[in-house]
């Protein structure tokens, strides 16, 4: 059985993820006590936005691994796609949850029916159907094949989420626009750090899930 921390790459990934996450947490907590109203306004950008962007990256990686599975038909790509899908699903769920909590504090409601929220919810539903397709197919290979195609089709929702704030006029939307980085100078340097930190968290979680799934499919579980 391969353990997660047996491989040296995983050890490095795990360390980088922990260190970067700690840096982000320290920056966030330092920023928190600057001004009272900022407590509600800005810290969301250090976890909500990186989570959302890593959901996009997860979708792209899922689509690429699904495409490679369809082309090569090697089981390893199916395991990669499944692991990416599960971690992407987790990140998408966290985007919705953190956004809702922030929305309750700022807008007074947990959920508002506007384009960006709805398109993210659609991505969440497509993820659910992706896992349903895997589980409800008559045999495993067919489930993997059908799910791979859904994994590619899912990509169509990403530009919709990204550009959704432009489609309606800004006055009718609560969700901030894409030009939010112009509003605060500190965002320009903290955001990249947070994004890289969450990316490493994503990759580490993926690697962990991949190791488990690989062991499971090779029958190596004790």
């Amino acid at each position: 059985m391969n353990r997660f921390l047996d491989s040296s790459i995983n050890k490095i990934l795990f360390l980088i993820a922990i260190i970067l996450s700690l840096i982000v947490i320290i920056i966030m907590t330092n920023k928190l006590d600057v001004q009272v109203n900022r407590v509600l306004q800005w810290p969301i950008l250090y976890y909500h936005l990186p989570l959302a962007l890593n959901t996009f990256i997860g979708c792209f990686l899922l689509a690429i691994s699904s495409l490679l599975y369809i082309i090569t038909r090697k089981n390893i790509w199916d395991i990669v796609a499944k692991s990416f899908a599960e971690i992407g699903f987790l990140f998408c769920f966290l985007v919705l949850v953190t956004g809702s909590i922030w929305g309750k504090l700022n807008w007074g409601v947990f959920w508002s029916w506007e384009p960006r929220l709805v398109s993210t919810l659609l991505l969440f539903i497509i993820y659910i159907v992706y896992f349903m397709l895997r589980n409800f197919s008559e045999y495993k290979e067919r489930g993997s094949r059908l799910a791979a195609i859904v994994g590619i089709i899912m990509l169509v929702d990403i530009p919709i989420i990204y550009y959704s704030v432009d489609m309606w006029t800004p006055e009718v939307q609560l969700h901030p626009q894409r030009s939010i980085r112009d509003s605060d100078e500190s965002i320009t340097w903290i955001l990249p750090i947070a994004m890289i930190a969450f990316f490493f968290v994503f990759i580490t979680l993926f690697s962990y899930r991949f190791t488990i799934e690989k062991n499971y499919q090779d029958g190596k579980f004790e």
Partner: protein, 220 residues
């Protein structure tokens, strides 16, 4: 070859009339429910009509997609179709074009019924409106044909097809509602060109995805 495949689909539909009759009847039932639900003569109700029309359309077209492949499950007709010396992309295209014809035919009947029962004034620029309807039908049929090909081979096809279809169709339906509203108000093309672009992109993307991946989808 596509011509014969489409001919086959249309002959089957002409003899059985399964999907068209069920789609039309279901649409009319939904329209009647809406008419009983809210007073169609009130002026506040008028602004919801574009959305309600596309809702009726969405629900009824799913019946067509559920029948699209499952009608060929009997006597292993689908497997025979797959072993015949046809490019599998062509099978997808023929299915897509035939369901496009069925949906358009259904719409030709249900749209006048909707407009009569619910007092829905059609947009004045008929040519553009009809072109827009045809394009939306193309987009919806491309998405629906791909999704039903994915869904019908699973154990829970009746559940999975609508569950996957509604999220993927929602950009198209939202755009269609916006375009219809703009057209009803008599606005210029500039105001809704973005929405047309979304429908068009979905149509092209899903036609290509379906055409290129149908070979993989249709495997045993």
């Amino acid at each position: 070859m596509i011509k014969y495949l489409i001919q086959k689909e249309i002959i089957i539909e002409y003899r059985s009339k399964e999907s068209i009759i069920s789609m039309i009847t279901f649409s009319i039932c939904l329209i009647l429910v809406i008419a009983f639900l809210i007073d169609p003569l009130s002026s506040e109700f008028q602004k919801f009509l574009p959305g309600l029309y596309w809702l009726v359309y969405l629900f009824s077209s799913v019946l067509g997609f559920l029948r699209l492949y499952s009608s060929e499950k009997d006597n292993q007709a689908y497997n025979l179709l797959l072993v015949s010396p046809i490019d599998r992309g062509n099978i997808f295209l023929s299915k897509m074009i035939s369901i496009w014809i069925f949906i358009t035919f259904t719409q030709m009947i249900t749209l006048p019924v909707f407009s009569i029962i619910l007092n829905f004034n059609m947009p004045n620029n008929y040519v553009y409106f009809i072109l827009f309807l045809l394009m939306t039908n193309w987009s919806v049929s491309a998405i629906g044909t791909t999704i039903s090909a994915i869904g019908f081979r699973t154990k829970m096809s009746e559940v999975l097809i609508p569950m996957l279809l509604y999220p993927l169709l929602s950009p198209v339906i939202i755009s269609a509602v916006q375009i219809t509203e703009n057209m009803l108000k008599g606005y210029d093309y500039v105001n809704y060109s973005l929405w047309i672009m979304i429908i068009f992109t979905c149509a092209i993307f899903f036609t290509l995805t379906g055409y290129l991946t149908f070979d993989t989808l249709a495997e045993e």
